[in-house]
């Protein structure tokens, strides 16, 4: 799951090294439109529909937080 997430992030914003950041939002690596694209990619890749109320920047600020969100959607 981690590798897939990193791959999606790298494709979304290839100009950044996501391993160098603890907070993608605060570091300006993902803006609100990136989050929308990220949600779309995660929905498609993992066959889920992330709840609209979970489309909050803090849920996408790190790989760990994204993993937690996917686990909430039943992805192990």
């Amino acid at each position: 799951m981690r590798e897939k997430i990193i791959s999606i992030l790298n494709e979304l914003r290839p100009e950044f090294d996501f391993s160098m950041s603890n907070n993608f939002i605060a570091d300006g690596m993902l803006d609100s439109f990136d989050v929308i694209n990220l949600v779309n990619e995660l929905d498609t890749t993992f066959g889920i529909s992330i709840d609209g109320m979970d489309v909050l920047p803090e849920n996408f600020s790190s790989v760990e937080n994204i993993i937690a969100l996917l686990k909430k959607n039943g992805i192990e």
Partner: protein, 354 residues
Amino acid sequence: MDLKFHNKKISGIVTVLPSKEVKFEDEMENYNFSSAKSMKLKLAMGYNKHRIAENDVCVSDLCSYGLKYLFEQGKVNKDEIDALILVTQSPDYFMPPTSNVIQGLLDMKKDMICMDINQGCAGYIIGLVQAFMLLDQPSIKKVALLNADVLSKKVSKRDRNSNPLIGDGASITIIENSSENLTIHGNLFMDGTRANALMIPAGGFRLPSSAETAIMEEDINGNFRSLDNLVMKGDEVFNFVQTEVPPMIDSLLHTASVSKEDVDYYMFHQPNRFMLQKLADKIGVDRNKMPCNIVENFGNASGVSIPTNITYNLGSEMLNNEYQLCLAGFGVGLTWASLILKTGNLNFCEIINY
């Protein structure tokens, strides 16, 4: 608050769209983002093309064009209209009311009421509610509800938050009393504490337009706009919709004793495809029952998006059939409102180009 109306019906809808069509790709260079990123967003949000009024076209032009079409085609008798309700955020003037201007342009009878209502994305529901209330007056037998906006004039072309999705247009809905025993349920909510989530900061009496308010500034996301432009706090609006709309719909259906499956179509206001699809999933209805193709074809023209949704997606199907429709609008104010009604067998349901 919950609302209930008896023996009212929609008898016809026409949407008037400017002929000028602008494609997303043609405007991409205005935005401070890579084309690859913009193209991804195009798919997610449903940006494709939108209808934009020419600079000299105002709300009264679109509305009077549509009304004149209905009168000349014999679809509506001009003298039978007892009320003109115009819902718009882009009136021709601060004063007089644009509805009066339209009445004058078409030489309509003086024994009628004209009123402007300043509402946006929930403006179709608010307008219908006002029409239903007016029809309780014995002397008012037929109401023309006009929803119209030309807000593209107030959106910065360099604002990727708002420019790709904005659209201009108008719709005319005829509402009258029905001899059938019909009950229409509705509910509506307003929260002025979040009024600045969607606003045009300058140009009113609080902050008149000036050279200073016209200065373009870059926001944190790389969009350029001035205080004279429409500003939308996209994150706040998205979270507002996802939080407030699902319980509103659940409450409406419960009050009306209608199951989710019994609703034929959820004809909602359409800010963008992503928001609508997440809303359908959250409410728990089939995405096919909640069309989300208006922004990609015409843009979002505020209160015009629901009637455009009906005329585009159901169109002539509405002439000989009846459907259980759930309508919902949400946005500026903040305002969120919904109605559930059986409607159909309309006299007309179409789109015309201006």
